[in-house]
Subunit: 252 residues, 2 copies
DNA sequence: CGAGCAGTTGAACAACCTCAAAAACGGTGG
DNA sequence: CCACCGTTTTTGAGGTTGTTCAACTGCTCG
């Protein structure tokens, strides 16, 4: 589909450096599976396929999507290294999964995953917590789609990506956008044109600065003011914990 | 808040008559807790409250909502008898829960819920399945908000409600709308006016027929054609299983 | 009865979409 | 290395859907 192979570096979602060394993680269940490579644009599975496997994203970026009437596409999430795809109790996938970039995944039969989880009951709360994070992400997204303006949506999205990059702690991280404008549009419930225009606008205002092919340097504090999550006159410092990642889709 | 007490009858979500008699259900964990009554408009908890309890809706309807910048409200779900509220691994609720109608709930301390689940491990997959259903519902909602027109949103919503009524199997069930137009608008990402106009339009076209104060009789097949889930020229008969309810919010 | 709120209706407006075309990539092959 | 081709992105002009603002109706319940 694409011949392009883009550069990107996102860090695994739930693998904090120290915890990884001491306690078994969900990823460890997949550790000894061989990795498979999916070319950019290639499909891992389609909506409606028998849901026989789970996958762990090892490297790259996936998009999770649905098609509704008249071929309208909705991207319900992007998946990054460390994320799981295909967890469910349904016998068919409820969405399709495609590679945005060249992607490495580890495959696991659903039955053996169940087994592994029974052998390691200490992983259960971790899986549970992940579903909860994902539910929280889904609710954020509903709020975004229901009530935010195009500009707010874009800023929220950029900040979400920023949290996944190597230097997420920096106030002006450089972030790669491996997905197309069309992907972003389908994720934010907008058109390509609207996304493009707003990227241009943010660039013109200096909130983001182009860095290389698909990269931008973000002014995260200024973007946060435009993301529409707080009152305009509130400088964003409230006491709630928002430490968790809120991005991936894990369920099928 | 409201003095109004509206009539409604929705059936419990995951309690199929037969299964309830034979196997222990999630609801059975709550069975012996005393029920509390929340007046219409009253709050069960607010976003940001310490998440000390879970609740089971016994009777009535709850709305789950968030407030984003500038006071914009987003209703992320309505909860009906049998649904659970407040399940999470976070120590604070990520949303508020208010009673749409007078509502009966059973309260459970989070720790004792954990205990109960450990005592009855056979309930674990049921809880898990519920989270999966909820995730599926969230994805439906994202698709609705991202890509559907006002009319499609309203029809989708009405059909969702229809599935919860006593006579859901009938092709022209009579359904109560216990929530206000504002609630519906905040759930569908629209304004009150747009909801009102579209209700009027559907009524004029005879797709829904007013029945009493807050009730309507639905022509479900005709509504389904307008819900935007299938291609316009496809009469809605595809092979995927869509039997599950997809409505409630359980997580906090 | 009348105050207050939910709901409806109308007219003007704005944000976003659609359609169209040009520009910029990114890769390919001479 | 450069010319070419398909794709992605940007830009522009005009149209539509849904919003905003405002007035009005009709309940319900003191």
């Amino acid at each position: 589909m694409f011949a392009t192979e883009r550069e990107y570096q996102f860090r695994p979602s739930n693998v904090t450096p120290f915890a990884a060394a001491t306690t078994p993680t969900l990823a460890s269940v997949f550790r000894n599976q061989p990795t498979e490579v999916v070319q950019a644009g290639g499909a891992l599975f389609w909506e409606g396929d028998p849901a026989k496997h789970l996958f762990e994203v090892v490297d790259g970026v996936l998009r999770i999507f649905r098609i509704i009437g008249d071929g309208r596409r909705v991207i319900t999430g992007f998946l990054f290294p460390g994320d799981l795809v295909g967890i469910s109790m349904k016998d068919r996938y409820l969405y399709g999964a495609e590679a945005v970039t060249v992607t490495k995944v580890r495959r696991f039969a659903r039955s053996s995953f169940q087994e592994k989880m029974n052998q390691h009951p200490e992983l259960r709360p971790k899986l549970f917590a992940r579903l909860c994070d994902e539910m929280a992400a889904a609710q954020d997204q509903m709020a975004l789609l229901a009530r935010k303006t195009a500009e707010e949506r874009l800023c929220s999205f950029l900040l979400l990506l920023a949290r996944r990059t190597e230097d997420a702690s920096k106030s002006t991280p450089t972030v790669e956008l491996p997905m197309t404008r069309q992907d972003i549009a389908d994720y934010l419930g907008l058109t390509v044109e609207t996304v493009s225009r707003n990227v241009t606008k943010l660039t013109a205002r200096g909130m983001i600065v182009p860095k290389g092919r698909h990269g931008y340097q973000f002014k995260t504090e200024r973007l946060a003011l435009l993301a529409g999550d707080e009152d305009a006159d509130n400088n964003g410092c409230d006491d709630r914990d928002i430490g968790c990642q809120r991005f991936g889709r894990t369920l099928a």
